[in-house]
Amino acid sequence: MRRFSWFNATALSLGFAFLYLPMIVLIVYSFNESRLVTVWAGFSTKWYGELLRNQEYLDAAWVTLKVALMSSTIATVLGTLAAYVLVRAGRFSGRTLFSGMIYAPLVMPEVITGLSLLLLFIGIGLDRGVLTIVLAHTTFAMCYVSVVVSSRLATFDRSLEEAALDLGATPFDSFRLVTLPIIAPAVISGWLLAFTLSLDDLVIASFTTGPSATTLPIKIFSAVRLGVSPEINALSTIMIGLVTIGVISASLATKRAAVARARDEQAAART
């Protein structure tokens, strides 16, 4: 049985204090009555009220959610397809270029991705707005999805697919009934990753958007560029809260699923 040594306990406490104190500070100050950070003028939820009455933030939140839902869904389909091609399609001409185009966006600086897409959209005369942000987010998010899904596909027992084909399933049925259920957890985490990346993106959205579509990160960025804003503290607290609930419930769900599976397997072993 391992225990914490004093060194490890100190390293971990200092490390997690560093990771979490800034967020705790934001949460605490979102309840501060005063606009100034220095002065603690008493507990108040008035900034939340101001935030929810501010139509611009609500509109931006809606645009962001719309963009994230659309781009992460398209990116999941395209990314899963791309992963399938990478792992299963074997050799085809242009395969090196294809895998290069999957991995390059992961390391490409955001300013370059944003600039290049904007120049494309202007070049083909596409009006900038929700559609262009969705196209931009889909493109870089599908690469993340395909990396997540292809690592699952690579460790997958291929004989299951072959068995389905031998038993008369069409390739599409074998994909739908055998492959997809097995890679589903990777597909779901790919979707979540794509969704979060889209919600979070400032740089690419700033390049590819037009006056008609302002996303929440663009709004937050222009509000905090010059200083501290109590409304943004409240908004941050709401976002941190939502993410925390999401991550904790997801991890509880996977834990429960693992326990249930272990119980099923034991029951199956007994009979």
Binding site: R2, F4, F7, N8, A11, L12, G15, F16, F18, L19, Y20, P22, M23, V25, L26, L36, V37, T38, G79, L81, A82, Y84, V85, A89, G94, L97, F98, M101, V107, P109, E110, V111, I112, L115, S116, L119, L120, G123, L135, A136, T138, T139, M142, S146, L199, V203, P217, I220, F221, V224, G227, V228, I232, S236, M239, I240, V243, T244, G246, V247
Partner: protein
């Protein structure tokens, strides 16, 4: 036929929205700035056929790249970006390693929770995590208020709008990328190696240097590249936390594009930035490939 369609859909998408846009950047980097819409010339006029194409190519030149070398703002920004990224990477390593080490040696039942605690900040908004440091480091911010109130300092420290704030911001936001690969390397390590070294008379410190560090080398390399590569082109952190003296190339590109409307020059800045990043990216890719081969 079906296989062809399967390959074609993601292939064409990436060609149209990744490769073609990048080629457009290269093309515009060779053009000249103009007061027009769009603000660069020459424009490709296909209606004039072959002659138009020829006229178009004859007007492309490397003027923008030449300008990048003559104006010291640009090469200073490239150097400063590399320096800031390097210092931040080393700081992240020094801070991240003990955390990864502590996690890997924690009691088994603690590890999933610790891992979740490292990943959780990654899911929360990057922009908000950078902004939090603005609240903390500002002249009238949380840190200065605490330090002044407790009498440790009499005058508020100027940390916000300096390079120090940028280092803090980069280390803070990219720390999970350093911790996770080191943790996964350390977690696989066999404890009996350390016991053997100590039985053979090595001190704990020399056992750490001779066994733990070499065995976690792969994780250290991966973590350093994962922090270094995105830091070089960073825009948000220097813009929110840095001062007017914080030169970083992502910021220069943004300003050339949005403030000076010099699209050709911004494109040239982008092409050179990518050329600089290709070297660390290739080294990283190769070390990853080698690690994968060793694993198999």
């Amino acid at each position: 036929m079906r296989r062809f369609t399967l390959i074609a859909i993601p292939y064409l998408w990436l060609l149209a929205l990744f490769l073609v846009p990048f080629l457009i950047v290269v093309k515009i980097s060779l053009s000249d700035v103009a007061i027009a819409r769009p603000p660069y010339m020459p424009q490709l006029d296909l209606s004039e056929g072959w002659a138009g194409l020829k006229a178009f190519f004859s007007e492309l030149d490397f003027e923008n790249f030449a300008f990048l070398t003559t104006d010291e703002l640009y090469w200073k920004s490239y150097l400063s970006s590399l320096r800031i990224a390097l210092i931040s990477t080393l700081l992240a390593l020094v801070i991240g390693y003990p955390i990864a080490y502590g996690m890997a040696r924690a009691p088994d039942e603690w590890r999933p929770t610790l891992l979740m605690l490292v990943i959780l900040p990654f899911w929360t908004s990057f922009l908000i995590r950078v902004y939090a440091w603005k609240v903390i480091l500002a002249g009238d911010g949380v840190l200065n208020s605490v330090l002044v109130a407790t009498g440790i300092i009499s005058e508020p420290l100027q940390i916000l709008n300096t390079n120090t704030a940028v280092f803090i911001g980069i280390v803070y936001t990219y720390l999970p990328f350093m911790i996770l690969p080191i943790y996964s390397a350390l977690e696989k390590m066999d404890d009996s190696l350390l016991e053997a070294a100590e039985d053979l008379g090595a001190s704990r410190l020399s056992a750490f240097w001779m066994i733990t560090i070499p065995l976690s080398k792969g994780g250290i390399i991966a973590g350093c590249f994962l922090v270094f590569i995105p830091s070089v082109g960073e825009f948000v952190i220097p813009e929110l936390l840095g001062g007017s003296g914080t030169l970083m190339i992502g910021r220069v590109l943004w300003q050339e594009f949005f403030n000076n409307l010099d699209w050709p020059l911004a494109s040239a800045v982008a092409v050179v930035l990518l050329a600089i990043l290709v070297i660390p990216i290739m080294i990283f890719q190769r070390s990853e490939d080698r690690a994968r081969e060793r694993g198999e």
